[in-house]
């Protein structure tokens, strides 16, 4: 009786553990097969060539706003800046209100289409925060050269350009 109970318990333990391991492996394989491209929110400038993007194709483009690239267009309203992943650059234009966290040297995710001249015309710009949190006037702990150029310009400074 007691022995029978123990075997039933260990049977359940084995079956359940095997089931969970199988499920974990299956999920892992599915995620691996789908690949990071299809599960990612955006493409980066250096991915553009691989993706064979045609003018008019709608996509989300993400990367860092290149330092010193932000200015207003000739109309004085359009925001123009370069999105970079430190390998390739894409010039982006956007008419609208930028989020508070929009900074040169910080991440953005833009959504829109390429025009025939190769300019990415965005209708949405979202700011992407990085993992650093620090008081004002200090530099974050893992400030990498590309992600955190010296002297990140504030929105107010950029507005003056």
């Amino acid at each position: 009786m007691a022995k029978g109970l123990t075997t039933r318990k260990s049977q359940r333990l084995v079956v359940l553990t095997a089931g969970l391991v199988t499920l974990g492996l299956a999920t892992g394989l599915v995620l691996y097969a789908l690949g990071s491209d299809s599960l990612s929110l955006f493409v980066q400038p250096s991915d553009i060539a691989e993706h064979d993007v045609k003018p008019g194709d709608r996509l989300k483009l993400g990367g860092l706003v290149a330092t010193g690239s932000f200015h207003r267009g000739d109309d004085g309203v359009t925001n123009i800046f370069t999105v970079t992943d430190c390998v390739a650059d894409v010039k982006v234009s956007f008419r609208g209100i930028l989020p508070d966290l929009f900074r040169e040297g910080q991440g953005v995710v833009t959504e829109g289409t390429f025009d025939t001249a190769g300019l990415f015309v965005a209708d949405t710009v979202l700011a992407k925060h990085d993992e650093n949190y620090a008081p004002p006037g200090t530099m974050p702990k893992n400030a990498a050269a590309c992600t955190h150029p010296e002297g990140v310009a504030t929105a107010a400074e950029m507005a003056g350009r």
């Binding site: 359940l16 929110l41 910080q106 620090a134 893992n142």
Partner: protein
């Protein structure tokens, strides 16, 4: 009476831990809220909006911790049929659902001013939404089936299947590019949060953890009483 032996001993233990959990929570909340709202600096990029972090991050941690408690209880209930294990899962689920909802709502209220949107379907946000639905599914299954034992087993299986979502939540920001930022605290190479912000974060996390223990123990006693009442009702009906 043998049937109650374990739950009764658990009840006595819970009664001894309960006041401690409540005091730890209160004593952590006082300095925690003071530091979070007043004494900690604004962020160099996010300004005062960073104060939402002291709620958002503990709620998000607890949403995953509570799920692991629930899944651990589900595993124990399925393998060893321990009478308290099923009750532990049932007691944890509504707390976890609350933490998850709070992580989503505070994240949304933080995302609007910083990112420029309340919501985006990236890997992190979507997998946390799935976590919320797993909690709701567990509670629905647990209630929907008449036979309490069958209901508990169905809910436990769902809880175990859902465990695959936990590493997906954790690593979504590393595997795929997302709007949500990568890990700041539990990452290789140490935290990227300044000490002046990390202290209030940990104190608030302790308060949330103590809140969980406190509510969880009350809910365990509640579930034990419910089961006792159900057994007594049956005996009154003469079964």
């Amino acid at each position: 009476m043998h049937k109650y032996a374990n739950p009764a001993r658990f009840g006595a233990l819970a009664d001894r831990i309960l006041p401690w959990a409540r005091w730890v929570m209160i004593l952590a909340l006082i300095p925690g809220l003071w530091l979070a709202l007043v004494a900690s600096p604004p962020d160099y990029q996010q300004g005062e909006s960073v104060r939402i972090m002291y709620l958002h991050v503990p709620a998000a941690w607890m949403s995953m911790f509570t799920y692991m408690v629930m899944a651990g209880a589900a595993f124990t209930a399925l393998v060893w049929r321990h009478p308290l294990a099923q009750l532990a899962g049932r007691a944890a689920a509504p707390i976890g659902a609350t933490f998850t909802a709070l992580a989503l709502v505070t994240g949304s209220l933080w995302g609007k001013p910083m990112w420029g949107t309340f919501w985006v379907w990236d890997g992190r946000l979507t997998s946390v939404l799935v976590l919320f639905f797993l909690y709701l599914g567990y509670m629905a299954l647990d209630r929907a089936i008449e036979d309490e034992e069958k209901a508990g087993r169905a809910a436990s299986i769902l809880a175990l299947v859902g465990v695959v979502n936990i590493p997906i939540i954790k690593f979504s920001v590393d595997w795929w590019n997302t709007l949500h930022q990568p890990a700041s605290v539990m990452r290789m190479g140490g935290s990227t949060i300044d000490g002046s912000m990390l202290t209030p974060l940990f104190i608030m996390a302790l308060a949330f953890q103590a809140y969980f223990v406190w509510i969880f123990l009350i809910r365990m006693k509640l579930e034990i009483d419910r089961r006792k009442a159900a057994v007594m009702r049956q005996s009154l009906r003469g079964i």
